[in-house]
């Protein structure tokens, strides 16, 4: 007996759907074993490599979904990442031990396009696994990373801290005159880099002036904090480092040793949305040049910073 027309249509629709979806999900292939990843968001993952050969094409999987805003195209993504080689199990690089999250610019030139698919459309706080041929796992246009053979496969675990507009700031334009030993600050337009001037005598202690009081979550020790910042050697105009002149906000770990001198005490307890003017004497951390994550400043120089606290996330 022939099936009722509506059932036949339903079967046909299912078959069509299967034809559409199954190849996309790799269901037509033999089941792939995948690396076993353990650990909590924000901690260096433990990765156990499978005995199976790696997939021929790049694959990704959301291991744990976060609860933050969804990352969007056009944003820069601040993330922690752990990178290993499938074939050897060798750990290549990671941001956890560096205590320095990295900012990924998804233009296909800084990192591979496979990162786009791993990092865009994710909720902040998500842990994502990416397995990829080495030629599509790190560098631009399929460039295998240094010291990785082109036929290797890479295993990357991302902890997505968040996606941010390259011009994200904690506050809008404004002028803050010099006072109390602090230089003046001017932000001429939305997203513009703060300009400091009218420097007085060099500071003797770390000083913090709140230019804008934030109303967001409190920044706590040990958490991740995302900032837009600019810094100058005391009395000069040209910044020695500035996220505004690069690609947008950077992420940091709220530990004294993982930040430039003066930052930790300036930031602890402040809220997201705060704009801080921080002055730091040259002898605050004698001999300091850079952190493990290569965040640096001129040695033993007094400096001033404008820190815009854009976001924070527990780790």
């Amino acid at each position: 007996m022939a099936a009722p027309p509506h059932r036949a249509r339903r079967t046909a629709a299912l078959a069509a759907l299967a034809a559409l979806i199954l190849p996309a999900l790799g269901c037509g292939e033999k089941a792939q074993n995948i690396p076993v990843v353990k650990g909590e968001f924000g901690s260096r993952p433990e990765v156990a490599m499978p005995t199976y050969p790696p997939p021929k094409e790049a694959r990704m999987k959301v291991l744990a979904e976060g609860d933050g805003p969804v990352t969007r195209k056009g944003q820069v993504i601040v993330t922690d990442v752990d990178i290993r080689i499938w074939e050897s199990g060798r750990a290549l690089m990671d941001t956890y031990r560096l205590e320095q999250p990295t900012t990924a610019v998804l233009d296909g030139q800084h990192v591979s396009r496979t990162w786009d698919q791993a990092l865009i459309g994710r909720k902040a706080g998500s842990r994502v696994l990416l397995v990829s041929p080495a030629t599509h796992g790190f560098g631009p246009h399929g460039m295998a990373p240094a010291q990785v053979t082109p036929t290797d496969h890479m295993v990357l675990v991302f902890d997505v801290i968040g996606g941010y507009d390259p011009k994200a700031q904690a506050a809008g334009p404004g002028k803050w005159p010099a006072s109390g030993g602090f230089p003046s600050v001017e932000v001429k337009a939305p997203g513009a880099e703060p300009v400091m001037g009218d420097f007085g005598a060099e500071p003797r202690d770390v000083g913090v002036r709140v230019l804008n009081e934030g109303k967001g979550p409190v920044v706590k020790a040990g958490s991740s904090v995302v900032m837009q910042y600019t810094g100058v050697v005391w009395g000069t105009k040209s910044p020695f480092n500035s996220t505004y002149l690069r690609n947008g906000p950077n992420g940091f770990v709220m530990k004294d040793a993982a930040m430039l001198p003066g930052w930790f005490e300036a930031l602890e307890g402040k809220r997201v949305g705060s704009r801080l003017l921080v002055t730091v004497p040259g002898n605050e951390r004698p001999g300091f040049t850079h952190t493990k994550g290569a965040l640096g400043m001129p040695k033993d120089k007094s400096a001033a910073y404008v820190l815009d606290v854009v976001d924070t996330r527990p780790r």
Binding site: L14, L17, A18, I21, A24, L25, G26, C27, Q32, I34, E57, R59, M60, K61, V62, A64, V81, L92, M93, D94, Y96, Q100, T102, T103, Q109, H110, V111, R113, T114, Q117, S132, T135, H136, F138, P140, H141, G142, M143, A144, P145, A146, Q147, T149, P150, D152, V233, S238, P239, F240, L245, R246, N247, H290, K292, G293, A294, L295, G296, P298, K301
Partner: protein, 338 residues
């Protein structure tokens, strides 16, 4: 937790209802580029010609969004992205107009030529040579940072990761009936982290010398670098493989590429950079017929590390030879190897 693989009619129905959610949660990430290592080699164009060459001086997107991905790129045959076979300039180019960007480079050059070889490493005319392909790149001074942060007090750049090299030069050269030969080296150089010089690069560069930054294995690596990175490929730019399917240097290969410095960096910004790249492709089935007929001195592997200009063919069977229009006039030749 989403599964790596979904199967079964129930899963199918679920997928049909929540297709977009599933696709974003679990899917093969589609590579946006050709499989294999073609992009490592460079830009492989669709041509019937039997040789191709590609060269550039620096490959990384400007961190201040002011630059193209590849600086001073040359290609044979020419392409819309690389409309020159010879590129470069003697002047100092400041890639960091605000003090932060990519760096400073001077006296740079790149050359890519097919059915020809250069008269010398210092310039001059291309000498027609049937079936030969040659590429080189280099510069007098390269100071690149990721991102580049000038030191207001002068001296070593403050970049989280910096590369400084002087007199860098790389070349790739493939002649009929011979394997591809590479050169790579620099007069001097160093790698720096936030103003501190971490590693001095020796004048003589061992092939595929791996550098870990920092060198101290008790510390996490901030960057991995390879100097004089030499990779052999097939005639389509895919890395040569051994019996187990893994990359293996093929001393008989007629194609491949060399990077003077290749660095992969984490830190505040993730990036991958190559400084001085030369790549050639040559199809031996078509071009070996142009090999000199006279007996020639057998070349050893060590010849691939020569530092001098490439020798002219021992035989004149290929030259003098009227070069194709592409080589002579900078026009793209999409026809064939005659």
């Amino acid at each position: 937790m989403a599964s790596w693989r979904i199967s079964g009619s129930r899963a199918l129905l679920t997928a049909g209802v929540a297709l977009s959610a599933v696709l974003t949660a679990t899917l093969p990430a589609q590579a946006a580029h050709a499989p294999g290592g073609v992009d490592d080699w460079g830009t492989v164009v669709d041509t019937k010609d039997c040789v191709q060459a590609d060269a550039w001086v620096v490959r990384v997107k400007g961190l201040g969004k002011i630059l193209d991905a590849k600086l001073f790129q040359s290609h044979y045959p020419i392409t819309p992205q690389a409309p020159k076979q010879h590129a470069g300039g003697k002047e100092l180019v400041n890639l960091s107009p605000m003090g932060i960007g990519l760096g400073k480079i001077s006296a740079l050059y790149s050359r890519a030529m097919g059915h020809a070889h250069p008269a010398s490493t210092s310039g001059g005319h291309d000498i027609p040579a049937r079936g030969e392909v040659y590429a080189d790149a280099g510069g007098a001074s390269v100071d690149i940072g990721l991102p580049y942060i000038a030191n207001p007090a002068g001296g070593t750049q403050l970049s989280p990761f910096g590369v400084h090299v002087e007199g860098i030069t790389v070349s790739a050269y493939s002649q009929p009936a011979k394997p591809v030969a590479f050169t790579g080296g620099a007069a001097r150089g160093y790698i720096s982290v936030a103003g501190a010089r971490i590693i001095d690069i020796p004048p003589i560069w061992a092939v595929n010398l791996g550098v870990r930054i920092p060198e101290d294995y008790t510390q996490a690596p901030l960057a991995l670098a390879t100097t004089n990175e030499q990779v052999t490929t097939d005639i389509k730019g895919n890395p040569t493989k051994g019996p187990n399917g893994a990359y293996k240097y093929d001393p008989k290969s007629t194609s491949g590429y060399v990077n003077g410095i290749h660095a992969s960096v984490l830190g505040t910004e993730v990036a991958d950079v190559t400084v001085a790249h030369a790549a050639v492709l040559r199809d031996p089935k078509v071009t070996d017929q142009f090999a000199p007929k006279l007996p020639v001195r057998a070349e050893s592997r060590a010849d691939s590390d020569r530092a001098a200009a490439p020798a002219r063919p021992a035989s004149k069977a290929c030259a003098p030879f009227a070069p194709p229009r592409a080589a002579a006039g900078g026009m793209q030749d999409m026809s064939s190897c005659w």
